[in-house]
Symmetry: C3
Subunit: 339 residues, 3 copies
């Protein structure tokens, strides 16, 4: 990443690889989101115009390669890898460091998309100053990623009408049996400078609900192996009620896929219209064979087939690139303990 | 609970039994309060008028039937059981679920009274749209509960002048020896949308102070067996200093009763007048014989007799309805660990 | 401390020794700061004029005499020991109480300086009503302490240009090897009533960074033995990015001194000027011999010599007054666990 002409120094300086040490392993999601927001906000405020804060729009497929243990230090390095007219792509790497032995491990790699929103008028998306790439191919690869994610975002938007409905006395191993939801009234301390819910907070709750759904289905402890994209479709305002619902989408022999939907509606609004604020798909894995889920309804069967497609695609990727991390059961307690 | 004519669908839909799954056992008080506020706020905003948020006015006698363990999921179901002109009675049940075994237990039953306050003018109490009861007796029983609580609230208001005074070098087993207090300056993150202290936060601190008083008196770990009504008399504004003081009221052979007073005064007010914001009575129980408390002053003797009355009344109730839960000593660590 | 003529009762009443019980051992820094702010704010609002909140300007050398354990109750007593025209000196003592055995220990003694800032105009420092001292010498000693701290504050201000620069592949035992930093975007929930970062929060992060630097250098667990003054030079506004950086300043045989710098810059400001908000020096101690740090650059050598001076001065003090607490290694886990 080189300096762009006309951009201030800060944008050109070795921003690409900032390394920050933090010691809260439980705040990993929150930290990734925050560091991403900081690096995307800086260049967008470099020109003399409306001030803005970058807001998370999408998290790409994220692999959790290694758990972070209490007492370890997390190193987060970020790099702006692409900018479109109105969005910034940020690559975040999380390393865990055992500060006593000095051992470092890559625990987490995430790609995030941010959109700069004006601080004066939160519905106004500002322009992003372009970066200059060291090689032409970098720009082309970035443009390709930009178009792919745009298509995927639109696809999940179409499925916004889906609602997780409670079912009385569901049978074990059905989708209804393990589905779970959580509500929360958004208070001042959940919010960013814009008075919207902090996306890092939503990510953490999303992971929590996915973990509950998985444990209910499998009757055993699991770990989040990867998150297959989170799309933030709409902002959640202070004073709204947030509903986070999760349900099984697909089961393979040793992993399950869970779909989590985040909805919001205003308490102080007679229409009480509910809107879909975010959607996430995550894979939870364990070391024991999983009970097979039985899709019943038409929609459940459709989601199962889609999940199978994603699973086979990912499996092919793993076999090419890297090995799926097989964490022992006991490490799950980390997540449970830190939520 | 049936649909009331002229009310929107949401009020009529199966609202009465919403079930939410959450995994923060430590936030039980906070969750109960929040879910109660959500279900009471919805119908009050159903008509085209001032928007409001329901604010907690009173928690009725609450039994903690079973402790919630780390890793368990709390299910909260709520139902509006009565509405007066300006208040809503909500019944909240908390079930704990061990998601690995599927075992569920009723851990907590609470009845809460909410009052809808206008978002524009926080001193204005709005009207509550009436509910339609399926049977005439339901309305009559609700009206009776409404009148009883109103009387009790007024009674605790009369005792508002009582102050917990520190005593130098108190003797062991006296009221002065174990009394404890805690202060806190109310910041933005403690507050609700109205810029008042969140009642759930106050409830948690109240329980904490009661636990300290009990442990100091008994020199052993105890668990909160029940909370004998919390009355919220006045709102605590952002910027106030909150003082939470607890003292022994009564001791039986195996339980102690603690009175907790919540006072507030503004830092930025030359009058520095202190006002009583809330008052709570809670029973803490253990498995060992308790040291007997010796009431010394006139007021202490009066409170002891009142506590004895409540104790005998409750004992009769328990013998009729249910058994007092006898928790082993070791479980207390849960509360200590999660505060 | 006697009543000053013309001051309201609250200022004259037994304010000097307030004792508050709290059960969050992890919030010790935060509590000390909060209780100090409350006791300094009260008298400053006693006259009929602009309302204010007292803001922390400096923490004097603080000894951590004994660690506080989970389950213990912290007692905080505060006393106003000196007032200048625009500042208040507060002495805070923290006692830990094991509520089961009744054993009390002095864990922490701190002296803090507060400045009253108007709630209407945060850049306006208000006047402090004078206190009346029982003996002339008290006032003279206070005046001396006031002048000393003023000089020291100015001295650290001059060193504001120092920046902690990351170095690629540093050698072990160098300053660069163990230096660590942490960034954070200041949100609404980090702030006080003035919409500035809560100093208690900054103190906690400062201690955290110092602990990471020390553990990286020594490859062993350490405890904070004392904090050699924290100066708050400038307020950090909501929406700023806070950078907290720590580096080794000095090593003796059994302790290390770490310098922590707190910088801030606004995201929504094209100038992106960074300013030094606070600076702290802390001593971490252990029971094993420390690896010796090798100062390399001119500046590092200068800071090493300064650290040596402070170390020798302190050592002389310890030998005169009290013994340096030698905590076993295992107690460090407390700090790690509670952050």
């Amino acid at each position: 990443l080189n300096s762009a002409p006309g951009l201030p120094d800060t944008y050109a300086r070795p921003q690409p690889l900032r390394s920050y040490a933090v010691s809260h392993p439980d705040l990993q999601d929150h930290m990734i989101e925050e560091v991403g927001a900081i690096i995307s906000t800086w260049p967008c405020n470099s020109q003399n115009r409306d001030h803005c804060v970058a807001t998370l729009a999408r998290v790409e497929h994220t692999y959790f390669l290694w758990p972070m243990c209490i007492g370890e230090v997390a190193h987060i390095s970020t790099e702006i890898t692409y900018t479109s007219e109105h969005s910034v792509e940020v690559q975040v790497n999380v390393m865990s460091e055992n500060i006593l032995t000095g051992t470092k491990k890559l625990t987490n790699k995430a790609t995030l998309w941010y959109v700069p929103l004006s601080l004066k008028n939160v519905d106004k998306v500002l322009e992003v100053p372009p970066v200059v790439y060291s090689r032409q191919e970098q720009e082309e690869a970035g443009q390709k990623r930009y178009k792919t994610q745009k298509l995927e975002r639109m696809e999940t938007k179409w499925r916004n009408e889906d609602v997780v409905q409670p079912v009385l006395n569901p049978e074990p191993n059905t989708v209804s049996y393990s589905q779970s939801s959580l509500i929360h009234m958004v208070g001042p301390s959940d919010c960013t400078l814009h008075s919207f819910v902090h996306e890092g907070v939503t990510m953490k709750l999303t992971d929590e609900v996915a973990g509950i759904v998985a444990a209910r289905h499998c009757k055993t402890n699991l770990v989040t192996a990867s998150v297959n994209a989170i799309n933030f479709h709409d902002k959640i305002r202070k004073g709204c009620i947030k509903t986070i619902s999760g349900r099984m989408a697909f089961t393979s022999n040793k992993s399950v896929e869970i779909e989590v939907l985040v909805d919001a509606n205003s308490v102080a609004d007679s229409s009480q219209k509910r809107y879909r604020a975010a959607m996430s798909l995550s894979q939870e894995g364990g070391s024991l064979p999983m009970p097979q889920r039985l899709p019943e309804t038409q929609n459940e069967k459709k989601r199962f087939e889609e999940g199978k497609g994603r699973y086979l695609q990912m499996k092919a990727k793993w076999q090419g690139h890297m090995k799926l991390p097989l964490w022992p059961k006991t490490q799950f307690t980390l997540r449970a303990g830190v939520v």
